[in-house]
């Protein structure tokens, strides 16, 4: 009787020990090491900053329609119906940037593209300037009012009436298309959204020829290659 009791006690003890091992096994305990590290690291964005490869303004005034202003600074945007309203004399400005020099891959994702100009002389009344994507070719040394290329609406900025400030416009969609090759990069044209004003409204911004580099127009493109 005594020996049977011992046997029962040993079996009971073994079962309990066995259940402990089973629990350990169920927890997948091994002798391997585990190294885990979390690194906070967003994907670095690539940036390309450009100054214009060409810029100029064109003048509608009767005696200026064939003139080229490619080498001058500042660039001008003007709404005017001219002297005594006899002949409209608006002014428009063109800028373009050599995006190819950024070597942005055609499939890159452009996150933002910002066009900036330094307003050296604000209009005396707040104006809206249309910034149109230019759809035809032009060159700085040959563009005139008479031969200016066509353009299509893109975006706009408001000038305010304060001089010596930077105006910025978002042109991300245009630049994405330029990079992808679905649109040809001919730059942008600035013009008053309401031309032929009975009261002359003139604003001026620095051109690429201006001595102070930081006041030249810029195009800043942020993208993921």
């Amino acid at each position: 009787m005594a020996s049977r009791t011992w046997l029962l006690a040993i079996v009971a003890g073994s079962l309990l020990v066995g259940s402990g091992v089973a629990i350990a096994a169920s927890l997948s305990i091994t002798s391997e090491s585990l190294t885990t590290v979390t690194i906070v690291a967003p994907v670095p964005i690539s940036t390309c900053t450009l100054t214009p490869s060409a810029d100029s303004y064109v003048d509608q005034a009767t005696l200026q329609q064939g003139s080229n202003f490619g080498g001058v600074t500042p660039l001008e945007v003007e709404s005017s119906q001219g002297f005594l309203g006899l002949s409209n004399s608006n002014k428009r400005s063109f800028v373009t940037f050599a995006l190819a020099s950024c070597s942005i891959p055609a499939a890159a994702a452009v996150q933002s593209a910002t066009l900036s100009v330094f307003l050296s002389q604000a209009p005396d009344q707040n104006r809206t300037w249309d910034i149109n994507r230019v759809t035809g070719a032009w060159t700085e040394g040959a563009i005139t009012w008479s031969n200016q290329p066509a353009s299509t609406a893109s975006t706009s900025v408001t000038t305010g009436t304060t001089s010596n400030v930077t105006l910025q416009a978002t042109v991300t969609s245009n630049v994405q298309s330029f990079v992808a090759g679905s649109l040809t990069n001919n730059g942008w044209m600035f013009r008053d959204s309401v031309e032929n004003s009975s009261t002359l409204r003139n604003g001026q911004f620095r051109s690429r020829e201006f001595a102070t580099v930081s006041q030249r127009p810029t195009l800043v493109v942020n993208y993921y290659p």
Binding site: W6, S19, S33, T36, I45
Partner: protein, 123 residues
Amino acid sequence: MKRLLILCSAVAVGFCSLASAAALQGVTSAPVGNGSTPVSACDTDGFTVSYTTSGGNVTSVAVGGIAPACAGGSLRVTVVDGSRASVASGGPLTVSGSSANVSVSPNPPGATPAGVDVSIVGP
């Protein structure tokens, strides 16, 4: 008296078993499960990571600064967004050398990742 000894023996063995199991559970459940406390680490000074993008999307993660002690281990990466949700993962890859380039899937937009979880099991 004998019966009392037998009973005590059985209770003692059983108690030890339960105590062992309890101790093991304490070691393993939370730390390994959530990865916040390595059981032991083959690399204690961290890693570096860099991304490769194509078409604006992340295609691979390069892990650098891997300690020699990790050679032979199994490396996995999980790319996470700003809310720590997984947006891509890659591996396992057997570690050999101080760096590893791991292709990830899917390929999230470059603006999405906020970081990378790197884990090495073993060696």
